[in-house]
Amino acid sequence: MPAYIARRLAMAVGTVLAAVVISFLLVHSADGSPGAVALGPSGTPEAIAAKNHELGWDRPLVTQFVDYLGHLVRGDLGTSLIDNRSIATDLATRLPVTGFIALFATLLSGVVGVVVGVTAAVRGGRFGKAITSSSGVALSLPAFWVGILLVYVISLQLGWLPATGYVNFTDDPVGWFQSLVLPVLTLAVGGAAIVARTANAGMRDALGQEHIRTLRALGTPPWRIRYVHALRYASVPVVSVLGIQFIALFGGSVIIENLFALPGLGQASQAAVSAHDFPALIGVVVVATVVVVVTNLLLDLLVAALDPKVRAA
Amino acid sequence: MTAAAVSPPAQTTTPALEVRDLVVRYGSGRKARNAAPAVDGVSFDIAPGETLGLVGESGSGKSTIGKAVLGLQKVTAGTVRLHGQDVTAMSLKQRSRTVADLRVVFQDPYSSLNPARTIGQTLVEPLRLLGVRGPDAAQRARAALASVGLPPDAADRYPAQFSGGQRQRIAIARALVCDPKVVVLDEPVSALDLSTQATVLNLLADLRDQRGLSFLFIAHDLGVVRFLSQRTVVLYRGQVMEAGPADAVGEQPRHPYTVALTAAAPVPRPAEQAARRAARESAGFGTAGAAAPSATGCPFVPRCPLATDVCVQQRPPLRPVGDSRAACHHADRVPSL
């Protein structure tokens, strides 16, 4: 078990490092330079060079990288080329928006997906068929399109919720919650479909296992066979898929934030991309990776708690 | 039986297969170095035309030895010689070019034939590598099918159309199509039903006698091994416990483990089996897997009713006892079991 945790931790650190390296290399292979971005079209080549020197852009790549890592460890992500604000501070206010959307969407996908998938596996027949078919469709729908349709139906036609915009939790908890409902629902449609499929397949696989026959031969009550033994067996692939889903939903929320006008990481990255704000780009990648990695680490621990074989490994 | 040698083959002829001090360890790193090797210093010879039976239970290393001989498993130490030529370090491709006469029949007839290829394609494949092509190859494939009792038109069919016994005969045909001298038989009948098993065993005996083949016959069943082999090697946890003429090992075991193995195999005669069971239960063999053996001594110590301190401390060497050789400090007391 300690070896397992150590290995996972090492993987997590490795992943963050990889993200830093990839984004660092990406930015440094770009045509432009931060000086050109900061000064805009008015900057003369001399001024740009001077600005680049000031930013340390002309130092050797390795020096810059080590320097960046040093700052990163202290939580310093540099300053924006556009408005000179601290990137870390900016992202810190944005992270909860994206984080809560992804978290709620994952939780909702998990709960709905497991209930639906397990019910389909246990009941079978027409119900199972209908669930399998409709989940196949649901996981194929583009989330941003689903989002617009939801806005159209729930906000415009039914008038239940605000269409777009974000309310701070500290300002108005209810408004905050309401502003998250549609984005979360949007992302959960596809997420729940994928979880439902995994739970369904896992449950069927579990119910076909030899040890289930042992339990039946012992006259174990059907509910116990299904919801204690088979479900525990099926939970391992479901938790794994939840981890993958969180990564996907975190990325997906970038697009959804644009649609719902939410001040999250997605908006920040979109702005950074459009403005070629290099330090902000790296910052977004790093923060997103850290969140994803930490979440997956927690899920790995959950898998270990569920599966004795993983614990032993 | 052309070479029903009772004792190890005379030193004048080069053995068809010679295995010396074979050691195989799985994995790498500290953990693997501390674990007991899968095969631990095993040596044996097979004379031309002779069948050697390699018997043991799961974890005895018998299949690993087969794989090492075939070149499918990396050898940690020791040598494998084919007709006197050292093939230990040769890649499979080099082997096929220089000594193309070592072939194999595996246990599971269901996964040993590629379901997507016809029997003909399967049989011709090794011939193509030897440069035999076209009608010649097809002719040899048909001949190989005939030698295992299958009609020529079987070549056009897919494996799914054959029963387990028939597939195993096809696997034998694939092994024989290149006229090898040595064939490794890795549990060739374990997956088959009794009546089919008998057919395949009879066929193997015929082919050996007709073609003077040498077999390395790997099995977990002493009875089956006795039917086909002239000599038997008994393995336990990667080490040779006993080696000798098949009849001697079967009738007068010289190692306590061989006794346990023989006594445990049930015979289909209720009265005799009752007597055997009583004898086995009174011999006092320990439960399998209850305790780990010591690293320095005999691996059978935890289950052996004859074990003493010397067995824990010293690994017994293989030494002549009667007609066989046994690795037991107390071989002289074995007949009392």
């Binding site: 993987m11 490795g14 990889a18 984004s23 990406l26 930015v27 770009a30 027949g125 399998t132 196949g136 194929s140 583009p142 399109w145 617009i148 069927r204 296992q209 040890h211 026959r213 031969a217 012992l218 006259g219 067996y233 970038v254 697009i255 644009n258 459009s274 290099f278 780009l281 977004v284 990648v285 994803v292 074989k309 | 499918l72 499979l92 070019r97 595996f106 040993s112 997507a116 494949e125 009609p151 799914a160 028939q166 290149c178 997956a191 039903d193 009794l194 009546s195 098993q197 008998a198 009879n202 977990h220 039917f227 079967g250 193995l261 195999a265 049930p266 289909p268 005669r269 009265a271 439960t287």
Partner: protein, 680 residues
């Protein structure tokens, strides 16, 4: 695949494990399987339509993409504009069709790049062994954990909206997922022995992969490719939605939806055409993937205990049960629902404290017979006739709920594979304590004490350690002991043991047999043992029923049947056994039986063994009743009296294995299950 070549045809209706990669199907002419499923056919058809329409759009589109019809802005569908117009009056149909080529091509590029990297890596990792595999796997795990959408955005920030490069980069990121799936498949294919056989033949690494490994992976590759194609489309459209796609006036699906989202107040229709085309294309790709994987939407395989077909022949239950028997089975038949019989007219009786052996080769129906005693037949198989008399009740006629009360409490079962018979997720203690509490109404502490005692009773010395273990920590012999302890939790009167020692080493088998024998002696338990091994039967059984092709051909005391077999099949099985009793010489040649067991559905009339029998005559092909033998037993051979004392001879050397000029020994390929119908 035909059902019959399964290693054990007793498992006839059991589902093949869905995780195993599917071997390529027999090359059949005609429509490939995935196109015969509605999802596959529709999906493929839609993809063809979209691809053709997109790439030929310049040839047929009614308007140029930037042609504005300012009089008809935001128009609904009409004759002039089949799908309406956008906010600047451009034709939506023309724009959708024109926009299609870019996402289709770039999604294909993503798939291509992902496979070009992931597949070779997987093949290499599967071939080179653990070390290489671990290095590659660790690296790909890092890639899998990266938030790919955000990294793609960063890439766009650096290189701009060069979508083919961006989508190729997505392919690089996704290749990690391809590697993961392909590695599992490649590893399991490489474990197949034909790969080893080809390597022994000297086939080079490349050829082994191309000829033997890749074809077996084809289905999984196709499934994965179709799914990734759908993901590629979605991400491509998502980026275009954010404005990082082809720039105006070039149309893109994503940006057209973005455009439409600004007009949901005044023209919601605008959302429909583009969104639907995009969604349907992704749905089509996924449906195609499902069809390729052989998953017809919601294939019905309910894990439900449907024990009996509605059409059960009126039971031959008239005669009351013999009170001396604990169990009486009369004229039992088991059939595939709407299919052939697997077991027909089987009768046997068991007295208390005795052990009955059901013996025969695989495919003879012995496991089905045993499982029907507990009503645990596989889905789609049910008791179709006869009675199972147990404690004054007919188990074959009991409702599921009452039957469930019998299971474990009165009749328990142990199965062939001890390692998979225990739940891998729970400790031994949990698995034992839970039924003990249910059966014996004991409290937690009391149940734990009983569990430890049961383990000691089955010969486990360190019961405490084993209680704390999980099944994967036990050896096969230990696991079987735990399984036996589990079966004893309800203090049953009858134990059904299905090949209880087949998966075990011979010395462990001897230990387990001794344990079972001691249990019978000490507790008065009755046992039904299923075995193919006559030695096991001789060791533990008091009575024997020899089964062949779904019927009992000979029954009686173990000593009677094994020492003086009356049926030629029993004689043949004994003669084929290579285990010689002490002192007897090893035979030069073993007896064998030509041909194979006829599969259910093609049993001949009269004696089912006649086709393979050395003693068969004309009279054997007409039906005849069983004759008494071995005291209480029976024999199903019309020549039994004449053959008394006969021996099944060894077949002559050439006759069986070398093709005789006249009659080939090849049995015709066994027909698929539901055909033929010579049986009753």
């Amino acid at each position: 695949m035909s059902v019959l070549p399964l290693p054990d045809a007793d498992t006839i209706a059991a589902e093949a494990a869905p995780t195993e990669p599917v071997p390529p199907a027999q090359r059949r002419r005609g429509v490939p399987g995935f196109l015969r499923r509605p999802g596959g056919a529709l999906g493929a058809a839609w993809l063809v339509v979209v691809v053709v329409a997109s790439f030929t759009a310049p040839l047929w589109r009614p308007y140029a993409v930037d042609e504005q019809d300012l009089d008809h802005r935001l128009a609904l569908p009409s004759g002039a504009h089949l799908l309406g117009t956008d906010p600047t009056g451009r034709d939506v149909l023309s724009r959708i069709a024109t926009a299609g080529a870019e996402p289709l091509l770039s999604a294909a590029l993503t798939v291509l790049v992902a496979f070009a990297i992931g597949l070779p890596l997987a093949l290499i990792a599967a071939e080179r062994g653990k070390r290489v595999e671990q290095v590659i796997s660790r690296v790909t795990e890092v890639f899998l954990a990266l938030p790919s959408t955000i990294i793609l955005l960063a890439l766009i920030g650096v290189i701009g909206s060069r979508m083919y490069i961006v989508m190729a980069a997505l392919g690089v990121l996704i290749s990690a997922a391809v590697y993961r799936v392909m590695l599992g498949v490649a590893q399991s294919v490489r474990q197949r022995l034909y790969v080893d056989a080809a390597r022994v033949n000297g086939l080079g690494s490349l050829r082994v992969n191309v000829v033997h490994v890749l074809p077996s992976m084809a289905t999984v590759i196709a499934v994965q490719a179709a799914q990734l194609f759908g993901i590629g489309l979605l991400i491509n459209a998502g980026l275009a939605f954010l404005g990082f796609g082809p720039s105006e006036p070039q149309p893109s699906w994503g940006f057209m939806i973005q455009d439409a989202s600004k007009h949901i107040y005044d023209d919601p229709w605008l959302l429909v055409p583009t969104g639907l085309v995009l969604a349907l294309t992704v749905v089509a790709a996924n449906e195609l993937a499902d069809a390729l994987a052989g998953k017809a939407a919601g294939r019905d395989e309910r894990p439900r205990a449907r024990r009996r077909a509605p059409l059960r022949t009126a039971a031959a239950a008239a005669a009351p049960a013999d009170p001396a028997n604990v169990l009486e089975v009369r004229d039992l038949s088991v059939s595939v629902d709407g299919g052939p019989q697997l077991v027909s007219g089987v009768s046997f009786a068991l007295r208390p404290g005795r052990v009955l052996g059901l013996v025969g080769e695989s495919g003879c129906g012995k496991t089905m017979t045993a499982r029907s005693l507990l009503g645990l037949l596989p889905d789609g198989v049910s008791v179709s006739g006869g009675v199972i008399l147990w404690q004054g009740r007919d188990l074959a006629d009991l409702p599921e709920k009452e039957l469930n009360a019998v299971r474990g409490r009165e009749i328990a079962m142990i199965s062939q594979e001890p390692m998979v018979a225990l739940d891998p997720m729970f400790s031994v203690e949990y698995q034992l304590v839970q039924p003990i509490r249910r059966f014996r109404g004991a409290g937690r502490g009391e149940a734990r004490r009983i569990a430890a005692e049961l383990l000691r009773n089955v010969g486990i010395v360190d019961a405490e350690r084993v209680l704390a273990s999980h099944p994967h920590q036990l050896s096969g012999g230990m696991a079987q002991r735990v399984a036996i302890a589990l079966a004893l939790t309800g203090e049953p009167k009858l134990l059904v043991a299905d090949e209880p020692t087949t998966a075990l080493d011979v010395t462990v088998q001897a230990e387990i047999l001794s344990l079972l024998r001691a249990l019978v002696r000490d507790t008065g338990l009755s046992v039904v043992v299923v075995s193919h091994d006559l030695g096991v039967v001789a060791d533990i059984c008091d009575d024997v029923a020899v089964m062949y092709a779904g019927a009992v051909v000979e029954s009686g005391t173990a000593a009677g049947v094994l020492d003086e077999p009356a049926h030629p099949y029993a004689m043949a099985l004994l003669a084929a056994n290579p285990h010689v009793p002490a002192g007897e010489p090893v035979p030069v040649r073993l007896a064998s039986i030509a041909g194979t067991v006829p599969p259910p559905g093609s049993w001949p009339t009269g004696c089912r063994f006649a086709g393979r029998c050395q003693f068969a005559q004309q009279q054997c092909t007409t039906p005849f009743p069983a004759l008494p033998a071995h005291g209480d037993g029976t024999v199903l051979c019309i020549r039994a009296a004449e053959l008394s004392g006969a021996r099944w001879g060894a077949v002559a050397v050439g006759a069986e294995t070398v093709p005789a000029p006249a009659a080939s020994t090849l049995t015709p390929p066994t027909p698929p299950l539901p055909t033929a119908g010579a049986s009753r």
